[in-house]
């Protein structure tokens, strides 16, 4: 993975004259200098016997003995049950640094999704039972994938006005938008007395079936991009 791109953002020049000059600026500050490598928390990597390693892997292991490695964040574990998407979602749900609360809400949501699906399973006939998905993790991943927009809108300044130009989104922006819309929908559009696990499990199940307000928001985004199709040539990248 290109280590440069996620820490630095190219300053997009806004005028046509200096279109090709790219200046690098720090977007998120890090206390680590560039020679620090990311930590490897995968147990399988260390369990491979020496005979099975290829030349590159042996070389890399030698390098890791002497190179500087960043400290692993507290939330990153070598657990077999760890999921980077779920960790990202928990971080986005967190408020005020209260990771304990965010994590417990996430686990309660997964439990709620599971219990609802089990209820449906027991109530369904034998043919329908094969179609009902009971794994909360597949439901979560599929729901977020269904909510990801394919194309997005970016404001571009031309002739003194900002135009909403349709633009293909990178993968991380799409994942971010899906999660953001899901959380905003649950936080703001529901009755204030309902608890987050209840709201979130309901929204996830609806998105899994390609229904619900979050999917509608994705479709609205697509429609606006389709409507502004004529402005597509304002994009230069």
């Amino acid at each position: 993975m290109n280590a440069v791109s996620h820490r630095f953002r190219t300053l997009r020049s806004l005028s046509a004259v200096s279109r090709h000059s790219l200046r690098l600026t720090q977007v998120r500050w890090s206390r680590y200098s560039p020679e620090y490598r990311d930590p490897q928390t995968d147990k399988e990597y260390y369990r491979k016997p020496l005979a099975e390693l290829t030349e590159e892997e042996k070389c890399e292991q030698e390098l890791r003995k002497t190179q500087l490695i960043k400290a692993a964040p507290a939330a990153k574990t070598s657990s077999v049950f760890e999921d980077p998407v779920i960790s990202k979602f928990i971080n986005m749900m967190m408020k005020g640094g209260n990771k304990v609360l965010a994590r417990s809400l996430m686990t309660q949501t997964l439990e709620a999704v599971k219990r609802k699906q089990f209820e449906k399973y027991h109530a369904a006939s034998a043919e329908e039972q094969a179609t009902i998905e009971r794994n909360p993790y597949t439901i979560f991943h599929q729901a977020l994938k269904n909510c990801e927009p394919v194309i997005g809108l970016v404001p571009i300044l031309r002739g003194g006005h900002f135009y909403q130009v349709p633009v293909p989104l990178p993968a991380r922006r799409r994942r971010f938008l899906a999660m953001k819309w899901m959380l905003t929908e649950c936080r703001e559009k529901k009755h204030r007395r309902t608890l987050m696990p209840e709201k979130l499990s309901h929204e996830l199940l609806e998105a899994f079936h390609n229904q619900g307000p979050v999917i509608k928001k994705k479709h609205d985004m697509h429609k606006m991009a389709e409507a502004n199709r004529a402005l597509a040539h304002y994009r230069w990248w």
């Binding site: 686990t107 439990e111 599971k114 089990f118 209820e119 009971r134 909360p136 993790y137």
Partner: protein
């Protein structure tokens, strides 16, 4: 051994062997098992038909199901007779038939909502048969009803399974047609009670109409058939116009308590007193099962009119329950479970009887048979995981692997409560 003294004058069969009993209660239990003859004729298990309406939280989804009684082959055991026509094996999941749920869980297990949710999700109530419960059942089987009631105290760390062992014992006794007096959580009687009234019977004590009437309702559902058989032995005057004469069935006292909520606490006291005095006659066998019994001798958070804190003995319900738990009656047994979870002003890591009961409670319950309920053994853990896998509760693909199981063992430390919480979201 700190805090666990053990004088068993009730079990006269073991006279003269006290010094070894004091140092090791576990071997004492084994010794008692050998001494008490196990040739007692076992009653054939009869299914109790529950009342027409069960508690709303539990029986809503279960009423229409026909329970499947046949034991399944392979690793999916489901013995439905708690005592079994032979040895009831350890490390097996024993299933309570759904008809019995309204009677066994008439009170709805207020302090263990996770298990209630599990019963609702799986559409079956399964308990893992474990050693502490098995030992208790064997002792209850061999009880000598001429001797004073033996008190068994289930203790252990948080989440080890004391409440469910108690439920297992209750179901066992209910199947054997014992009359079960079950207090699901004594802590609920000493905290957050609204509507305290001065008792009419004794001006120093306080009544709790809400708690008493809800308990009476569940008691009625659980023991419907006994209420018409047992006749009271004294006349009770409720007020100038209402009274219940001698010789009327006990059901009338319960009805009076339910209709006139002000008299509910007194009705509870009368019911307990009558049951205690009549169990000696041998018409029925009485099991007193109280969870969170350390609440009876702890502190309360209830205040009198002048905003000073009340002591538990000033509550009429606690007073009558304390009398019930004494061993001055015979014809049954008393099974108690300690609980730190709902208790007030006790340290979180306390679990031993001495720490939770305090000096007063320990002296009141002394002598008792302590039964330690500990975390899962490796076989029990494996069995529990198998049960979850068979029910497809563990949906995460890594949970089926050896790595996943090792990680679950590490994270939960074989604690049943923790394992249940972990498996809920995996």
């Amino acid at each position: 051994r700190r805090g666990v003294s053990f004088r068993l004058q009730a079990l006269r069969v073991c006279s003269g062997r006290h010094p070894c009993a004091v140092c090791c209660p576990a071997t004492m239990l084994n010794r008692v098992t050998r001494l008490v003859p196990r040739a007692r004729q076992l009653d054939p298990g009869r299914f109790l038909h529950g009342g027409p309406q069960g508690p709303q939280g539990l029986a809503v989804h279960l009423d229409d199901r026909v329970p499947d009684e046949t034991p399944r082959a392979g690793s999916r055991p489901s013995e439905d007779d708690p005592a079994g026509a032979g040895e009831q094996r350890e490390d097996r999941h024993y299933r309570i038939p759904l008809q019995d749920l309204p009677t066994v869980f008439a009170h709805g297990l207020p302090q263990y909502q996770h298990y209630v949710c599990q019963v609702k999700t799986f559409h079956e109530a399964c308990l893992l048969v474990r050693r502490p419960a098995l030992e208790l059942l064997r002792h209850l089987d061999g009880t000598n009803f001429a001797h004073p009631a033996v008190r068994y105290v289930l203790y252990g760390e948080k989440g080890t399974g004391k409440t469910l062992s108690l439920c297992h014992v209750i179901h066992f006794c209910a199947k054997r047609d014992w009359l079960v007096v079950h207090v699901p959580d004594a802590h609920l009687w000493v905290k957050s009670c609204r509507g305290l009234l001065r008792s009419a019977y004794n001006r120093q004590r306080f009544d709790q109409p809400v708690e008493a009437s809800s308990w009476l309702k569940s008691f009625k559902t659980a023991n419907e058939r006994f209420l018409s058989q047992i006749k009271i032995q004294e006349t009770y005057m409720w007020n100038k116009r209402e009274s219940t004469e001698k010789g009327r069935p006990l059901g009338e006292v319960v009805e009076q308590g339910l209709t006139r909520v002000k008299n509910a606490t007194d009705a509870v006291g009368i019911v307990l007193k009558e049951l205690k005095s009549q169990s000696c006659s041998g018409a029925f066998r009485l099991l007193v099962a109280v969870d969170g019994v350390n609440a009876l001798w702890g502190k309360t958070t209830l205040k009198r009119e002048d905003k000073s804190l009340m002591a538990p003995e000033e509550l009429a319900l606690v007073h009558s329950l304390r009398k019930m738990v004494r061993n001055d009656w015979h014809g049954g047994a008393v099974v108690l479970a300690l609980s730190q979870t709902g208790s007030l002003f006790t340290p979180r890591m306390a679990y031993l009887p001495q720490e939770l009961l305090g000096k007063e409670g320990f002296d009141a319950l002394d002598p008792f048979v302590p039964v330690l309920v500990s975390n899962y053994s490796p076989e029990e853990f494996e069995r529990c995981i198998q049960y979850y896998l068979e029910n497809s509760w563990l949906q995460h693909e890594k949970a089926h692997t050896e790595e996943g199981k090792k990680e679950l063992l590490f994270l939960s430390d074989a604690n049943p409560g923790q394992l249940e919480r972990l498996c809920a979201y995996l």
